[in-house]
Subunit: 312 residues, 2 copies
Amino acid sequence: MRLLIALGGNAMTAADGSARPADQRAAITAAMEAVADLVVAGHRVVLTHGNGPQVGNLLLKNELAAEVVPPVPLDWCGAQTQATIGMLAMDALDRLLPERGSSTRSATLVSRTLVDRDDPAFATPTKPIGRYVTRAEAELMMDHGQHWVEIKDRGWRRVVASPEPRECLDVAGVTALLDAGYVVVCSGGGGIPTVSDEQEGYIGVEAVIDKDLTAALLAMQLDVDTLVIATDVDSAVIGWGTPQARPLGRVTPVELRRLATEGHFAAGSMAPKVEAVTRFAERTGRPGVITSLARIEAAVAGDAGTRVLVDV
Amino acid sequence: MRLLIALGGNAMTAADGSARPADQRAAITAAMEAVADLVVAGHRVVLTHGNGPQVGNLLLKNELAAEVVPPVPLDWCGAQTQATIGMLAMDALDRLLPERGSSTRSATLVSRTLVDRDDPAFATPTKPIGRYVTRAEAELMMDHGQHWVEIKDRGWRRVVASPEPRECLDVAGVTALLDAGYVVVCSGGGGIPTVSDEQEGYIGVEAVIDKDLTAALLAMQLDVDTLVIATDVDSAVIGWGTPQARPLGRVTPVELRRLATEGHFAAGSMAPKVEAVTRFAERTGRPGVITSLARIEAAVAGDAGTRVLVDV
């Protein structure tokens, strides 16, 4: 089977959220154990991943150095995290796959995601990113064209647009490598947010694309058999935090949308994962799965996780 | 013909050496005009590139933010520049190629280069990188494991190893994409310096690999027809700065090595380019060329540049 696996923050950073280089290497190496098992089981795997803590660190470096070195835009920071995370994933797979008797190779593609310049998200940037700063610090960054808002009693925080992903621009290269037998790492952090400009052609834009929504789009463009959103829980849970809490197993897109409307899934956390697997199941008639790294193999076989499918 | 083109600093930054984001975009877009012309002329092109000013900026950000955000190693900075430069190259080619009636696509691969852990360069790091700092600033970075040396009357400067590139690890993916018709951007900054560790497998290492020497190795591994080192002069020059100065046209590897030994080519500038094209010509019997972006098409046809070939 062709699988698209979207790795969440827990596959990228230490349990305490630390994104120090050694922590990133350890977390990604652990995640690649599950991926290597899938490859050895005969699946063709495309990996995508989040990049929140990594981009947070890069933004902070840009801010702290802004008086000496010109800051690079957010889309550049996203591109940078694709390379470092891809490097770590390839290093790990190049050890774990031969250990399992596999000669499968891996490749990381720098990947852009098209968004609409007139997406309403750009008119009202609302996605807060990075740390709280003083007014003076925020003003320095606003001089470089960024949007910052004052949040009562906390300080100033940067806000960016989170537009809808429209097209994974570099998907043909992914297909070429996948067909050649590679594990492909691509579209990290939701892909580099890119608009199509009449004069300049494609050009990066300061925004954050939800990595789960990009994963759904990528899964459709690649025509994979299953979309797997890997996170830190074995299944999505309804009634979370109540005595009625129960893990969600097999479910139809219609039922899952009803549960989402009822507010069972946290915004910015489980909600976009649910939206991603639902979109994939609706458009393709194939399963979307939410599960943990430890349960991926069982979930792909239909025996674990939250599994969304039109015909349950 | 299959061409490997190595782009130098002038294709990456403004004429004054500035590596601000807009300057990088403008310089790379201009360089891609020459590349697009080659593609339309029927050549299959692999691009590699330097990253000195870009890595310099990233290192400086790491240093300035070191008390707040853990610095990432030099190999991570190199990876980061592969992604941003590749992104800019793809944006430009996606406009310039369709403008010329070509539907050729491009792809950027994150690429590692294997070096020997016992390369003598690691015992005595000598390659100075980045800016001069005070003893106190250097000591902070030394606490993070870096090597810095005091240079009389100037201050402290970081030194790193510049080991010999042994193998481009991700070349199979390049071949797959090249065969599928892509312009491939890879091995930027000489590739991410990587050693093979008995326990950990591949792991990045803090070093700087000469991008021209990696280009020669990559050209051999890819079995291209011509290696082109693109720089800011039309040809290598002998007797530079003397009344006897003259551009070098066709030359054998033996003759070029003799000229190099006589000191005609500046260390760290023209000398590694000369070494790169000489190695390629010696090992493959095919031409290595040094020329400017403006003269690439003529140089590939054998009508411009410094052309090294066993049988001139």
